[in-house]
């Protein structure tokens, strides 16, 4: 008789997380677990708390109740700088748009996480160039964000998020501002993190096509989990 393979520790675990803006509740006791190699889509209508959940998962927001454990570390016990360091070393974040630094060439935008860690400029630029090549933007490495299309800027943002081979990838409406083809390209890059590299991906989206590509779907409504389904 062979022993069952051990269940890996979750990459991300939210327990009974609650948060309000002024008197408006955004999250009401949401629990969610994300394992390595897994893609979880968080869906729901506008204002249901999807982005707040992602912000809490990234340590950008400290929830008023509940706990968030990211890669085995309780975020409430980390100070602001420790959370920032954890994000840039272990976590990739992709937002809807407008996340690149204006007037900074794509190559340097992508190299930022390594440079913020004190990395050598030449080495960081080489790594950034490779990451841009991976998303098909090697030729646009010297362009600034204002000079490229929305889709190209979004792919550059994905390249930046993938630069440090993150163990957790958090994406907030990453394809909302893209057309179908551009959106599919970006989604494939994000899914590769889980399928190829064994990372965990939390995908916040209101796009049903994007959500259908996930392993599991968690639907929120009015700040609470309305429905959870295993898709594959």
């Amino acid at each position: 008789m062979t022993a069952a393979p051990p269940i890996p520790d979750p990459s991300l675990e939210l327990r009974a997380v609650a948060h309000s803006y002024a008197r408006t509740p955004a999250l009401r006791g949401v629990s969610l677990t994300l394992h390595p190699g897994e893609v979880v889509a968080v869906t729901g209508p506008s204002g249901c708390g999807k982005s707040t959940l992602l912000h809490a998962a990234a340590g950008l927001l400290t929830p008023q109740a509940g706990s968030v454990t990211l890669l085995g570390r309780d975020l409430a016990r980390l100070d602001e700088t420790e959370r920032a360091v954890l994000r840039r070393r272990e976590v990739g974040i992709v937002l809807q748009y407008g996340q690149l630094v204006p007037d900074l060439p794509l190559r340097d935008n992508v190299a930022l996480p390594l440079l913020l860690d004190g990395g050598d400029l030449a080495a960081a630029r080489t790594a950034a160039h490779d990451a841009l090549a991976r998303v098909g933007l090697a030729d646009a490495a010297g362009a600034v964000p204002q000079e490229v299309s929305g889709g190209q800027a979004q792919r550059a943002a994905v390249a930046r998020a993938l630069l440090t081979s993150p163990r957790v990838l958090l994406a907030d409406e990453p394809v909302a501002s893209l057309d179908a083809t551009g959106g599919r390209q970006v989604l494939d890059l994000l899914l590769d993190v889980a399928r190829r590299d064994g990372g965990a991906v939390l995908l916040v989206t209101h796009d049903n096509t994007a959500a259908a590509l996930a392993d599991r779907e968690v639907r929120l409504r009015d700040g609470a989990v309305e429905h959870e389904a295993v898709l594959r």
Binding site: L60, A84, V85, P102, L112, P113, L116, Q146, D172
Partner: protein, 439 residues
């Protein structure tokens, strides 16, 4: 206000005779008759002596320059939001001329309000610089009827000037068309900027030429401004080249260079003002050096005359320091506006894992790289010609411009770091999560 001060200075009448006459014999035994002169109304010699009066008036006008730069910078505040509003108006059918008229009306009203406040503000300044000072040291003449005429004229001029500035300054907003979703960042000095620099430079050159040899400084400043305008017209920042480069290869250096590229037009104008301040520091420091350590064979002044000239140099340096402080305030205003305009990108950079102190360091580096080089370069350029001449005569006074450049550069750098610290709250606000949702 500086213009009103200049008018007041120019209305001072010639020095009157005191009526006290002294007779004595000089070293060669010749009879000397000296007619005593008494400054009008206990004025300081800078105003009382007819030969020095134009220089004082020019200094007052020069002091207006950084305030003008500050006004232009203030017009840019909220530029991103304003551009967005203009695009919406364009989509609703507003023609470029309509938008220009709207902008002109808004700024004309602001300048008119400012013009009305000039008279009360002048009264306060007059109390500080006339009755509050002892006779012989007063820096403003008694209140004169001419000012009552000058004031409404000034209000009218400010209204027209404000309208022109408003119509021209944010003109870049419409160049890319109303459907452009991205905020139009101005990467080069505007035509209005270049024209303003050129006009001011030419006026100063002409004025300096007229008042030669007293107008050497305005001549130099004017020539410098003309050069700045020519450089700006070639779409290059004078102190940074067409695209500011990051030196050092750190994240802070890269982010600061990018931020300076985004606000190049404003930084170029302010750098020009700081360069002029540097020229003033350099020239006055060299002059002070020559007075304290006169060259061999040169004039040695008695203590009274020395005090007079040194206090004049001190006054000029103080005017330069005020102008530099205003220019730094202008840079700070520009950074604040830039932070507000790019808050989504700032918030995203913070989300990426950039600590707040790194983002504050970026602001400090931006300020230092925009402010210190022009001050140091101006000081050296303004002081070294005289300084080198002094050193050639073995006078240590020739080192004064170098010392001034060192001290001035360090002081400006320190001020930049303190200002960046003061911006911490704004930076923190720009990193707010709510900014990840703004368009």
């Amino acid at each position: 206000m500086a213009l009103l001060v200049a008018v007041a200075v120019l209305t001072v009448h010639d020095t009157v005779l005191s009526g006290v006459t002294s007779y004595y014999r000089d070293a060669d035994g010749r009879q000397v008759v000296e007619v005593g002169r008494e400054p009008v109304g206990g004025l300081a010699p800078f105003l009382a002596e007819p030969g020095l009066r134009p220089g004082t008036a020019i200094a007052a006008v020069l002091l207006a320059t950084p305030f003008l730069a500050l006004a232009v910078q203030a017009l840019r505040v909220g530029g991103v939001l304003e551009q967005r509003r203009e695009r919406q108006l364009s989509l609703a059918g507003a023609a470029p001329a309509d938008l220009r008229r709207l902008r002109a009306a808004r700024t004309a009203a602001a300048f008119t309000r400012g013009g009305f406040w000039v008279a009360p503000a002048y009264l306060v300044l007059w109390v500080l610089l006339h009755p509050a000072l002892p006779p012989g040291a007063r820096l403003l003449p008694r209140l004169q009827a001419e000012l009552l005429v000058a004031w409404p004229v000034l209000v009218l001029l400010l209204r027209w000037g404000g309208a022109a500035l408003g119509a021209l300054t944010p003109g870049a907003a419409h160049r890319r068309g109303p459907l452009d979703a991205a905020p139009a960042t101005s990467n080069a000095p505007s035509r209005a900027h270049v024209a303003g620099l050129l006009a001011l430079g030419l006026v100063l050159v002409a004025g300096g030429w007229w008042w030669l040899p007293l107008g050497v400084v305005p001549l130099a400043v004017g020539a410098a401004l003309v050069l700045l305008a020519v450089r700006a017209a070639t779409r290059r920042s004078v102190f940074t080249g067409p695209r500011p480069r990051a030196r050092g290869g750190t994240a802070v250096a890269l982010l600061a260079a990018a931020q300076r590229r985004g606000g190049l037009a404003a930084a170029t104008g302010t750098s020009a003002v700081l360069f002029v301040c540097g020229l003033s520091f350099g020239y006055t420091s060299a002059m002070a050096g020559s007075l304290l350590f006169p060259p061999r064979g040169g004039t040695e002044y008695d203590s009274e005359r020395l005090t007079f000239y040194l206090s004049g140099a001190g006054l000029a340096a103080a005017v330069g320091a005020v102008a530099a402080a205003v220019a730094l305030a202008s840079l700070l205003l520009g950074l604040t506006d830039h932070l507000a305009g790019t808050r989504r990108a700032v918030a995203s950079t913070a989300a990426l894992g950039t600590p707040l102190r790194t983002l504050v360091a970026v602001q400090a580096r931006c300020l230092v790289r925009s402010a210190v080089p022009p001050v140091v370069a101006g000081t050296l350029l303004g002081g070294l010609p005289l300084g080198i001449a002094l050193l050639a005569t073995s006078s240590p006074g020739g080192l004064a411009p170098l010392l001034a450049a060192l001290v001035g550069g360090a002081a400006v750098a320190l001020a930049c770091h303190l200002l960046a610290r003061a911006l911490t709250g704004r930076v923190r606000a720009a990193t707010g999560l709510e900014n990840l949702r703004v368009p």
